[in-house]
C-alpha cells in the first residue's frame, strides 16, 4: 500500500491528536522522538535541524507554533497511517485557542512527568479535552528519572480520568522507551475522523501565524469536503474572500500539496498580512458552492486585563508604537490605543486576554524591540450600571466616574489549584483574603489536593500568582477560566501628590481594600519621592474623601558648606549634572519627581510577608 498523499488520504488511516502537557514535562522531547520513530527525520538531521528550529520557536513564539506535523507511520499491522500531531498553546490565558486545537483532534495524549504529577493547567486542559469528547491516552514521561514515582502518579491519573492504573503508558521520551507502544496506542485507540467528503468544504482554523516573508500562515483541520489550490476561500465570520496562494502540510518541513481533504490537517496561505483576517476558531469554506453553516464555537478574542505600557525613555515612544503594530500582526487578541500619563508620559493602554498574555507581550516588546518598559498596575474590565439604568464599560481607572454608581460588575474566574496537602491552609487563607469562594476540593492522591475557587479576576491579576508561589514554596500550580461576573462594592482610589492626582496610581479596588492600597502606595511614594523645598502631602482618596495621608517634610538643607579655590569647577560640574537630572524630573504641580520614583513605585509589589 503506497504512502497516502496529502489531499487524497483515506480518513480511515488518519489519526488527529494533540499532546496535553505542562511546560517541562517533556512534550517537545516526546514530539522529537515521535518524529524520529516514524522515520521522517533521521537521528543525525534531528539534532542539526529540528531541535534547533524548535529552540528558535520557543525563544520567539508565544507558543511553540507551527506544530501541526504530519507523521506517516507504518504500524505493526503494516498499514501506513497518517498521524497529525497538533500543538496546543501552553498558557492559561489561551483557553480559547486550546479549545480550538482540541476541536481539531479526535484524541489527546495526556503527558505527565512521572516525578511531579499533574499540574493545574494540564488538568484544566484535560477537562477541556474531555468536554470535546476526545479519547485520552494517559502517559507518564521521564520514567528513567531516579525521582520518578510511576505507580503513585499512574494511580493519580487513573483517579482523574477514571481508567485503570494499568492503562497508563510509561515512557521515557529521553531514552525512547515506550514511544513505539505509544504510537501503536494512538493508532489503536484514537478514532478516525468522521466527516462528509462530498459536502461543501468546512475547515476549522486552529492556529494563525504571521510570517515576515509569507504573510499569514493559517493552520486548519478539514472537517468536511476538500480545499484545493484552485479554490477561492471565504472566511465565514466576516465573509471575506481570499485567493489561495498555497496549500500544504508540515512534515516536518512545509510540503506543498494540490489540496487537503476531509479529516486532514494542513496549512493555507492567502496573502493576508494580519492574523485578524484569519482568526482562530473561524470556519473556512470555498467561495463557490461553499457551506452555509459555520462550524460552531467561534468567538472574538475579548481582552479582559488592561494596563498602560510606557517606554522608560520617553524618546522610545515611536519604537514602542512600531513594535506593537508588528506584534499585532501575530496576535489577534492584543488591543491598544495611545494614552498619555502625567507621571509616565506617552504610552499605550493595552488590553490582554489575561495576566500571562500581558507578561508575554511585554517581554516580547522588550526583547524583540529592545525596549525598556514600565507597566501600570493591571486592572480588569468593569461593567457599571448607573441610577438611570444606563450602562458603561470601564477598562481604565481614569474613566471610573466619581459620582454614585448603582451597581458595578466585575469578572470572576473559576480557579483550579493543585498543591501538596500541607499547603491547604495557607492557600485557603490566601484565597479568602482575595475574596474567593471555595467551590470544592479533592484529593488527587494522598498528599496532593485539587482546590477549586471562584475568585474575582481583579484579585488574580494583582500579584496572586507570586503570592501563591511564595506561600507554597513553588509547589502549587494554578489555572483559571472566566466564569462570569458578580456585583461588588468597588471604589476608585486616587493617589494625590500635593493635592494633584497621579493618574498612574489610581486603582479600582474593593472598598475593604481601599485603605490597604492607599496606605501601601502613600508609604511607598513617601520613601521614593525626594524632599522638596516645601512640605508635600501624599494622600489616598476615594472621590473627595481622603482616607490616608503621609507627609514628605520640606528639605531644609541643600548646600555644600565649602567653596574655595579647587572646589569651584567641581561644584560647577556638580550643579550642571544636577540641572541635567532636573530636566528628567516630572512635574506634578510644583512637585519634582524623578521618573525612577514612579517606576519603582509601580514595579515593586507588596512587601513580602
Amino acid at each position: 500500500m503506497p504512502t497516502p498523499k496529502p489531499g487524497s488520504t483515506d480518513p480511515s488511516v488518519i489519526r488527529n491528536f494533540c499532546i496535553i502537557a505542562h511546560i517541562d514535562h517533556g512534550k517537545s522531547t516526546l514530539a522529537d522522538r515521535m518524529l524520529q520513530a516514524t522515520g521522517i527525520v533521521d537521528a543525525r538531521s534531528m539534532r542539526a535541524q529540528y531541535l534547533d528550529r524548535m529552540d528558535i520557536e520557543r525563544e520567539r513564539g508565544i507558543t511553540i507554533k507551527s506544530q501541526a506535523v504530519r507523521l506517516p507511520y507504518k504500524a505493526d499491522d503494516s498499514i501506513e497511517y497518517v498521524l497529525n500531531m497538533i500543538d496546543t498553546p501552553g498558557h492559561v490565558d489561551f483557553t480559547y485557542e486550546v479549545s480550538r486545537s482540541l476541536a481539531a483532534c479526535e484524541g489527546a495524549v495526556l503527558l505527565v512527568d512521572a516525578a511531579q504529577g499533574i499540574e493545574a493547567q494540564t488538568l484544566a486542559n484535560l477537562y477541556l479535552a474531555l468536554e470535546n469528547d476526545l479519547t485520552i491516552i494517559p502517559v507518564l514521561n521521564k520514567i528513567d528519572l531516579p525521582a520518578a514515582q510511576p505507580e503513585k502518579y499512574a494511580a493519580e491519573l487513573a483517579h482523574i480520568i477514571g481508567c485503570s492504573p494499568d492503562d497508563v503508558l510509561k515512557v521515557s521520551a529521553k531514552t525512547g522507551e515506550g514511544v513505539h507502544e505509544l504510537l501503536e496506542e494512538i493508532v489503536r485507540l484514537i478514532p478516525r475522523p468522521q466527516g462528509d467528503a462530498d459536502a461543501p468544504a468546512r475547515a476549522l482554523i486552529f492556529d494563525s501565524v504571521y510570517d515576515t516573508y509569507r504573510g499569514v500562515v493559517t493552520y486548519v483541520r478539514v472537517i468536511d469536503g476538500r480545499i484545493g489550490t484552485r479554490d477561492k476561500v471565504r472566511m465565514m465570520s466576516t465573509g471575506a474572500i481570499h485567493e489561495l496562494l498555497e496549500v500544504g502540510v508540515i512534515s516536518p518541513e512545509p510540503v506543498v500539496a494540490q489540496g487537503i481533504g476531509v479529516g486532514e490537517v494542513g496549512y493555507l496561505i492567502t496573502g493576508v498580512k494580519d492574523v485578524r483576517q484569519s482568526r482562530v476558531g473561524d470556519t473556512i469554506t470555498t467561495s463557490h458552492h461553499g457551506a452555509t453553516e459555520a462550524l460552531g464555537g467561534y468567538r472574538d478574542p475579548k481582552p479582559m486585563v488592561f494596563s498602560g505600557l510606557y517606554p522608560i525613555d520617553g524618546s522610545d515612544y515611536p519604537e514602542l508604537r512600531d513594535a506593537l503594530d508588528k506584534l499585532k500582526l501575530n496576535d489577534a487578541a492584543l488591543v491598544y490605543e495611545p494614552e498619555t500619563s502625567l507621571a509616565l508620559g506617552f504610552g499605550f493602554r493595552c488590553g490582554f486576554l489575561g495576566l500571562l498574555h500581558m507578561e508575554i507581550v511585554r517581554e516580547r516588546l522588550e526583547r524583540e524591540a529592545n525596549l525598556d518598559l514600565i507597566s501600570t498596575a493591571p486592572n480588569v474590565i468593569y461593567r457599571l450600571i448607573n441610577d438611570d439604568e444606563s450602562e458603561m464599560v470601564v477598562t481604565n481607572p481614569s474613566e471610573f466616574p466619581n459620582q454614585k454608581i448603582a451597581k458595578i460588575f466585575e469578572p470572576v474566574v473559576k480557579a483550579t489549584l493543585i498543591l501538596p496537602s500541607e499547603f491547604v491552609g495557607t492557600v485557603m487563607e490566601l484565597c479568602q483574603q482575595r475574596r474567593g469562594t471555595m467551590l470544592g476540593m479533592d484529593y488527587l492522591s494522598e498528599d496532593r489536593v485539587e482546590m477549586r475557587y471562584s475568585l474575582p479576576l481583579a484579585e488574580i491579576v494583582f500579584d496572586f500568582f507570586d503570592q501563591l508561589k511564595s506561600r507554597t514554596r513553588g509547589y502549587a500550580s494554578l489555572d483559571y477560566e472566566l466564569s462570569g461576573e458578580q456585583d461588588a462594592d468597588l471604589v476608585k482610589v486616587d493617589i494625590l501628590l500635593h493635592g494633584e492626582a497621579v493618574d498612574a496610581f489610581s486603582a479600582i479596588v474593593h472598598r475593604d481594600k481601599a485603605m490597604t492600597y492607599g496606605t501601601l502606595m502613600t508609604a511607598k511614594l513617601k520613601e521614593l519621592i525626594p524632599r522638596q523645598q516645601f512640605e508635600v502631602p501624599i494622600q489616598a482618596a476615594i472621590g473627595s474623601r481622603v482616607i490616608t495621608r503621609e507627609t514628605i517634610r520640606a528639605i531644609r538643607k541643600d548646600v555644600l558648606a565649602k567653596c574655595y579655590g579647587g572646589d569651584i569647577s567641581r561644584k560647577r560640574k556638580l550643579l550642571e549634572k544636577q540641572k541635567e537630572g532636573k530636566k528628567r524630573m516630572k512635574m506634578v504641580g510644583r512637585v519634582e519627581v524623578p521618573q525612577e520614583a514612579f517606576i519603582a513605585a509601580l514595579s515593586t509589589s507588596e512587601p513580602k510577608k
Binding site: R553, I555, K557, D558, V559, G565, G566, I568, R572, K582
Partner: protein, 377 residues
C-alpha cells in the same frame, strides 16, 4: 598673562596625623620619595613661585594664603622664606592680607611671634569644636582648649586678624556642644569664624565608619538647626555672615577668600593646587613626589587645565556670588524669571539699603544649591 592683580595660594601637603574626616591632599610621612622631604619642601614651593612670576609678568599680589595640610609644620623659617620669595618676585600690596593656616597644637608663642615678624598678619586655626568627645570622633589631636589658647597667643603676637574654624553636625555632637564651641570661639577675641557642616567624604576613615554603621551619618535637619544656632549666636556677637559659612566683625572678612568668590585671579602654588587666571583654570599634579620631579626638571607642575566658556564663567559667577551676603546685582541675574519666584518663596530678598541687589535669606542660605540651580540659565 595679563593679570595686574593676583592672589597667591600656597599648599603645604603635610600633617602630623590625618584626621578621620579629611580628604585633603596631605601626607603624614616626612619623606615622600624622589627626595621630596618636609623639611626642605619650602624650596620646591619657592621654585614654583619663581615660575609663577615669570608666567604672570609684572603684577601686584593683593593677598597670600598658606594652607594645607598643616603649614606650620614647615616652621617659621620655612614659611617666612616663602613669603620672602614672594616679595622677591612680586610687588606685594602695602596692606596685603597674608594668612597662614595652623593647627592649635602645632604652634608656640615664639613661633607665632616669628611668623608675625616675617610678615604674616592673619592666622586661621582649625579649632573645630570645644567638645573633647567631638574632637575624638573627628580624630583631632589637640585638646578642647587649644584653639582658644592659640588664638590668644596670636592676638598677643600682634596678628591683625584671627580666625577659628568650626565643624558642626559631627555624629554625637549636641546642640549644647555646639553652643559651648561658639561661646569659646567668641570668648577668644577673634574677628572671624568659619563654620562648616561636616561632610562625609568618600574614602575617609569617617566614611568607612558610617558605612559600617559604627557612626550615624550627619543629619541634614540637625545641620540646618545648628546652622541657625551659629548664625544667631555670631550675629548677636557682632559678627554677621558675609559668606555662607563665614562670619566676621565688619572689616575682618578674609580678603583672600573674597578673591575666590568674586572670580578674581589667583595662582595656586603647591601639589594639587588650583589656579584661575583670566577665565582659565588649571591644577597641579597631586602627589608631592611628582610635583617635586617636575620642578626639579624646571617644568611646570600643571596636570591639566580648562578654558571656561562664557556660559561657564557666568555660571561660576552666580554660584560664587550668590553665596555672599552682599548678594548679586539683579542686572547680573537679568532675564531670569527665577529671581521673582525665589523672592516670592522667601529664598532671596532685596539687600538692605540697595534694592538693585538680591541676597539669600537665612532659609535660602541653607538651600543655596537649589537656588543656584534655579538661577543658572
Amino acid at each position: 598673562m595679563g593679570a595686574d592683580q593676583v592672589s597667591l595660594y600656597v599648599h603645604v601637603p603635610f600633617c602630623a596625623s590625618r584626621c578621620g574626616y579629611c580628604d585633603f591632599n596631605t601626607y603624614t610621612a616626612e619623606e615622600l620619595g624622589g627626595g621630596v622631604r618636609r623639611d626642605s619642601f619650602h624650596e620646591l614651593l619657592n621654585a614654583e613661585i619663581d615660575l609663577a612670576a615669570k608666567a604672570l609678568g609684572k603684577c601686584t599680589v593683593t593677598t597670600v594664603f598658606v594652607g594645607g595640610g598643616t603649614p606650620t609644620l614647615l616652621g617659621s623659617v620655612g614659611l617666612n622664606s616663602i613669603l620672602e620669595r614672594i616679595r622677591d618676585n612680586f610687588d606685594v600690596a602695602l596692606h596685603a592680607e597674608i594668612t597662614t593656616e595652623a593647627n592649635p597644637d602645632s604652634v608656640t608663642e615664639q613661633m607665632l611671634a616669628e611668623l608675625r615678624a616675617g610678615g604674616f598678619n592673619r592666622i586661621s586655626f582649625g579649632m573645630q569644636s570645644a567638645s573633647s568627645a567631638v574632637l575624638r570622633i573627628l580624630e583631632r589631636t589637640h585638646t578642647s582648649g587649644a584653639g582658644v589658647q592659640a588664638a590668644g597667643w596670636a592676638r598677643t603676637a600682634g596678628f591683625d586678624h584671627v580666625n577659628l574654624d568650626l565643624i558642626y553636625g559631627t555624629p554625637g555632637e549636641t546642640d549644647d556642644d555646639l553652643r559651648r564651641s561658639l561661646d569659646a570661639a567668641m570668648g577668644a577675641g577673634v574677628d572671624h569664624v568659619s563654620a562648616y557642616a561636616l561632610i562625609v567624604e568618600d574614602g575617609t576613615a569617617l566614611s568607612r565608619k558610617v558605612n559600617r554603621g559604627e557612626l550615624p551619618a550627619p543629619d541634614d535637619d540637625v545641620c540646618a538647626d545648628r546652622y541657625e544656632i551659629i548664625d544667631r549666636a555670631l550675629t548677636d556677637a557682632g559678627m554677621p555672615w558675609y559668606e555662607l559659612s563665614n562670619w566676621a566683625v565688619p572689616g575682618g572678612e578674609c580678603q583672600h577668600n573674597m578673591a575666590y568668590w568674586t572670580d578674581a585671579n589667583w595662582w595656586g602654588v603647591g601639589p594639587g593646587a588650583h589656579s584661575h587666571v583670566d577665565g582659565e583654570r588649571w591644577w597641579n599634579v597631586k602627589h608631592p613626589a611628582t610635583y617635586g620631579e617636575r620642578l626639579a626638571a624646571g617644568v611646570s607642575p600643571e596636570a591639566d587645565r580648562e578654558v571656561l566658556t562664557a556660559e561657564q564663567q557666568h555660571a561660576e559667577r552666580i554660584l560664587l556670588g550668590i553665596r555672599l551676603a552682599r548678594g548679586m546685582s539683579r542686572d547680573d541675574l537679568d532675564a531670569n524669571a527665577a529671581v521673582t519666584g525665589l523672592l516670592a518663596d522667601g529664598l532671596l530678598e532685596p539687600v538692605e539699603g540697595d534694592a538693585s541687589r538680591v541676597a539669600l535669606t537665612l532659609r535660602g542660605r541653607l538651600l543655596a544649591d537649589a537656588v543656584t540651580r534655579a538661577l543658572i540659565p
